[in-house]
Every structure is written in C-alpha cells, then in structure tokens.
Symmetry: C2
Subunit: 129 residues, 2 copies
DNA sequence: CATAGTCACTTTAATTTTGAAAGTGACTCG
DNA sequence: CGAGTCACTTTCAAAATTAAAGTGACTATG
C-alpha cells in the first residue's frame, strides 16, 4: 500500500488555499464571474488587468477541476461556453470582500459594493492617501 | 512632468492586494509572524512548508518595504535580526482567518484558533471530508 | 464564391520567477 | 585551530508568466 500522495504542501488551511488560489490571476477571474457579469472567454479576457489568453484558459480549467467554476455551451457550431461559479465558487465571496477591504484600506484601491452593484469609493493613483 | 508611474496593475483593491501578496509564500510568512511565534530567519525557514532561503529573504525585504514587517537587531557581532509585524501587518489577521476558514471548509485543512493558540480541527490528508 | 470578421482558444518564444543546493561571513565554543 | 551556528547570498536548472501570433469553426458581406 503506497502512501496516499498528498496534493498539498501541508495540512495548514492557509497553505492549502494558497496552493490552489495563490497567484496573481485566479481571484481576479473569480471576481469577474462573481460581480461583474463576465462569463465568456472574451469578456473575462477584456478585464482591466488583461490576463493573457493562455493563462485565462489554464485558470478556467483549474477552477473547473476544483469544482469552483462550471461551464455550459451557449452556442453550437462552433460550440462556445459560458463560465459561471458553482455554489463552492460563490463561497469565495467573503474572501474577496476581505481582500478588497484590505486593499482599499492599505493600498488605496477602489471599493465595490456587490449589493449596490457599483463602486462606492474611488481608488487613489498609487497608494493610500 | 512625467506620468506618475503606477505601481499597480489596476485601481481594483483585489488586484492591488494580489500585486503585493499574491503568491504562494508571502502570507505563510505573515501567518508565522502573526500566530506561531516565529521571528528569526531560521525559525521562519523551519516552517512545515520549507520556503527556500532566497525566497524568504526576498519576501521579508518586500514586506519591510511595504511597511508590514519591521526588524530589530537582537544581537550584535554579528548583527542578527528579529522580524515582527507592524500595526499594518497585524491588520492582515482578518484576511488570514478568512483564507483559513475557506481552506478548512473546502480543502480539508486544519483550523487554528489564535485566541486559544492551538489547532481546534485537524486536517484531512487530501481534501474535504 | 471569396474574403473579412468573430470567438475561443492553442502555440511559440523570450523573460521572469521559483526551487534546491551550495557557498559566504561573522562570529562562538571546545 | 577546527567545528558549529546563524543569516543570509549566489548559482543554476526548471517552471511559470508574458506577449504575440496562429488555428479552427463558423457568420456576414461584397
């Protein structure tokens, strides 16, 4: 009986979360799916930060493999997909809000109110103040 | 007058936070400083996840440049430093707790109670359940 | 019918980051 | 003197990111 190959660096929940979401792009894709009504490849790619197409493709595959995103065809011939968060994917909203709150308080980023569906505090160009 | 070179990819608070903390190691260093009483280079390096020395060195420099960590000499000849979170660094606790909560619920990682100073739920080897 | 355009990717190649190991400098201890 | 400790830095191969170009399956236009 072989040792069950561990998927994660450690037992720590923070390390495990970083193993799957710890990069500069994944949570931006989740943000766009969660709040900004972006659901096609093109819409996701057109976001302000301009993720490279190969990375977007790879990240969507990973999020689907994790069960955080699912896709369904919105067109045949050629088949094209619409991506959406699953229930598990939507559970990341608290995390996004916390990250946004910190970035607003400490890095001068904007504040988005998902309830209102709009920005309620503008960003400063470079940092806080 | 030159355009003030923007430090961040975008005005979004989430993108800005990921610009500075979005990798697999930075928040583990913060975790160890915040909760696990690890303050010297050696202690930080000895953590379960085994960060490479060059990365630890670079991350500590970045965290200091961001004002999230400060160091003070605890010994002369040779001078050696103890690293600690600043007030701004300690403000990341909510974020760590949120990340930990998500990783516990969805990836089966352990739960640490900072109040009690101990693990209150063990991790499962590979995932949730 | 040929050509241009759209969408969703994939491929390619240069650059950057990472990871693991080994090395360095300033000491202390035996 | 030689070994050991601590806090790094250096080195270099491997992996990830970036930007650009290319592909395939169509639809719309002249």
């Amino acid at each position: 009986m072989t040792q069950p190959q561990t998927k994660y660096r450690s037992r720590c929940s923070i390390a495990r979360t970083l193993d799957v979401l710890g990069d500069k792009w994944t949570l931006l894709v989740v943000r766009d799916l969660m709040w900004h009504g972006k659901h096609t490849f093109q819409e996701l790619q057109a976001s302000e930060e301009h993720i490279a197409a190969n990375l977007l493709s790879e990240r969507l595959k990973r999020l689907m493999a994790l069960g955080l995103v699912a896709r369904e065809a919105y067109q045949d011939r050629p088949v094209r997909y619409r991506y959406a968060l699953t229930e598990a994917g939507r559970s990341l909203e608290g995390l996004l809000l916390q990250i946004m709150g910190w970035g607003h308080a400490h890095l001068g980023g904007g504040l988005y109110d998902p309830q209102a569906g709009r920005t309620v505090a503008d960003a400063t160009p470079d940092g806080p103040q």
